[in-house]
Symmetry: C2
Subunit: 414 residues, 2 copies
């Protein structure tokens, strides 16, 4: 039996026990984990050094090494994250609605855990702690499979979480990490039908593609975001510049950052020079359509592929469109259904954009950067779903649950 | 381009138009379809005769031929079904909740269509009309793929529905039927990633298995039901007999029919002879465990496979258990997470059963046969999901939708 199947089978045995734990019991586990993470951070830091040295020796990018590197403060941040999750209300057991049928049957819709969650993710070791915390709080067993770059850190972290968990009453097998970092091991996890209830990949487009191709278990796709800001002809241009610059540059490497700016031809001549200057001031490279280049001549030419691109970088594509209709058509063709924004004063343009854009989050007069579990007020986030089934947009604790119908009768037959 | 891809691509083009149609517009389409079905039933009946004759020539079972056969009354029933769906409230556009964040952003969760639904189903031609009606009302385009036995009937039905639909404003391509009844064509439909938003198979275990193995698009599994009734030691025995007989015999061929009876050893000696006699009176064959056979000697022996079996027939497996704990363990091991019932007067046994049984619908003192969209009060049903993701239990119009977040800002940046 391979490691993925062994751990998932143990997780499946643990799942019903975890599902029956009350909120206090689960919080005790999370708080014990938080305390031990801080108390025993030396072991994690030592393990992390192995990962960081290996990454440096391999010549990895500074960005990757930064995401990988832990210090006391970052470990404390993980612990605080667990305490925050403990403080969130337990979604399990909530009866969302209950009604009575004409025959007297009372039917209730109760929130219950999904069962066993598989998580596949990449470099950052804090995802290990976040995922463990959210899965446990929502009553789910979890099998983690982090990136090879963080294997020592992740192993040390999960060991400590499980040591604390065991003392605090976490069922054995409820939390585990696949230490085999080969692609084969990831594939094995993706194919454990009947054992893994849902697989959540968190990472770049390559990982997501591999999961969609190889998975046989249900998957929640996350993360790829080719987001747009459309600046309508009738808008507060100062607000538009502020939103475009924020959406592009406040954190370009994340999925809710904007990649393409669409500008109404009615204001392109005045708006584009100002907006492009503001973007360039932040170091953004502009790739423009013909009309953009006619207005701001030193802009690089955008090719068809640019409209599809999720740069995740200081690059922005710019296209002049004839109005809200063309903007919506462009977004629905090239977008990834993540986050889309219009800046407008026009009531009808706003309504139409909200109605016709097909995306997880559609904004009027706000930055796309708000698509986030914390910003939405969920108190947590395990990823941002870009699929339509089960969960769409930021996923918090509720999105890690399913329902069961509970029916109270007095002998009814049909 | 194969037929599945051709039709699905047209459906994808139609989907955004259908998504924008208001309730009145959609109802006009459904009512026009209903009227034309009745008015032009002669063509359907002629096509149906070809299917029925072919099935008879092939030596199909009487049950299959009965499910296949249409008459004026059955066509009227389909039309009435469409009118009933038209009368249901439109789920699309509903804002389920809306809240304001500390930064002033107002975030709403709005119900929108899934997009393009693929339906794969077997013999009964009424599923064609039902599915078309539910998908259109919920704003989804749909590609149907019925069984080869009903191909002439389905083709005639869809032709009429589309003729009526076109006159009433249904976007072209929104409703179609794959006429290639080969297994290959079904597989092609299952693999149209990025075109089909969700695939719903309705049929026997073989179909469901094939879909799980071959599908690359998101699937909602339906239907397989190995359901149990557990009769607790402390119960109204007359009520228990009535529920067991109803759950087994009121319609044995459906997924919410009970397959196994579990009886508490505390009452087995008195209860089993009475209950088995009542079942036998309805023509049910009993397959019992050792303890059952010690009490009612002429019962056939149940083998391990019997506990897994979905008979869909006048056969019931019977097992004596030591109490609610063993009953729950048996159900969670052998069941298919569909519908499970306990008959008891014991408050704590009822609570425990509701809490610990892992199934879409868990009953106290009622027949498993109530797991059904109409019985639950949804006014319609497109299938019963036995998976945990997206929808669990009976699926009505709401289960054919997803959500999008709509966010109203006044220039907020992050």
């Amino acid at each position: 039996m391979n490691e993925a199947m062994k751990l998932a089978t143990l997780a499946k045995e643990a799942a019903p026990k975890l599902a029956q734990m009350g909120e206090n019991e689960k919080n005790r586990v999370l708080l014990a984990m938080a305390d031990m993470l801080e108390r025993e951070n030396a072991g994690i830091l030592a393990a992390n050094k192995l990962d960081v040295d290996a990454a440096a020796a391999k010549g990895q990018t500074r960005a990757l090494i930064d995401r990988l590197t832990l210090d006391e403060e970052r470990i404390s941040a993980m612990a605080i994250g667990l305490r925050d999750v403990a403080a969130l209300p337990d979604p399990i057991g909530e009866v969302i609605s209950m009604w009575q049928r004409p025959n007297g049957l009372r039917i209730g819709k109760m929130r219950v855990p999904l069962g066993v969650i598989g998580m596949i993710y990449e470099a950052r070791p804090n995802v290990t702690v976040d995922s463990a915390g959210l899965c446990i709080k929502s009553g789910n067993a979890v099998v983690l499979r982090g990136g090879s770059e963080a294997i020592h850190s992740n192993t040390a972290i999960v060991e400590i979480l499980n040591k604390a968990g065991k003392e605090a009453g976490l069922p054995e097998g409820a939390l585990s990490l696949i230490t085999d970092t080969s692609r084969e091991a990831a594939k094995e996890l993706m194919q454990l039908c009947g054992i893994i209830d849902v697989l959540i990949p968190r990472g770049g487009a390559g990982l997501i593609r591999s999961v969609i191709e190889n998975a046989r278990v249900p998957v929640i796709e996350t993360g790829v975001g080719n987001c747009h800001v459309y600046v309508d002809g009738d808008c507060d241009e100062k607000m538009a510049v502020s939103i475009v610059v924020n959406a592009k540059t406040s954190r370009p490497a994340v999925c809710n950052a904007a990649e393409t700016l669409l500008v109404d031809e009615k204001i392109a001549r005045t708006f584009l020079p100002v907006c492009i200057a503001a973007l360039r001031e932040k170091g953004v490279e502009i790739r423009g359509c013909k009309k953009t280049r006619a207005i701001v001549p030193d802009v690089k030419e955008a090719v068809e592929q640019d409209w599809y691109e999720e740069y995740l970088d200081y690059i922005m594509a710019v296209k002049v469109v004839s109005g809200v209709k063309e903007a919506i058509a462009h977004i629905n063709k090239y977008g990834t259904k993540h986050s889309e924004a219009i800046v407008t004063k026009d009531y009808f343009a706003a309504q139409r954009f909200l109605r016709e854009v097909d995306a997880a989050a559609v904004y009027v007069n706000a930055s796309t950067r708000f698509t986030d579990g914390y910003e939405f007020g969920f108190g947590a986030e395990i990823g941002i779903s870009t699929q339509k089934l089960h969960a769409r947009g930021p996923m918090g604790l509720k999105e890690l649950t399913t329902i069961k119908y509970i029916i109270y009768g007095e002998g009814q037959i049909r």
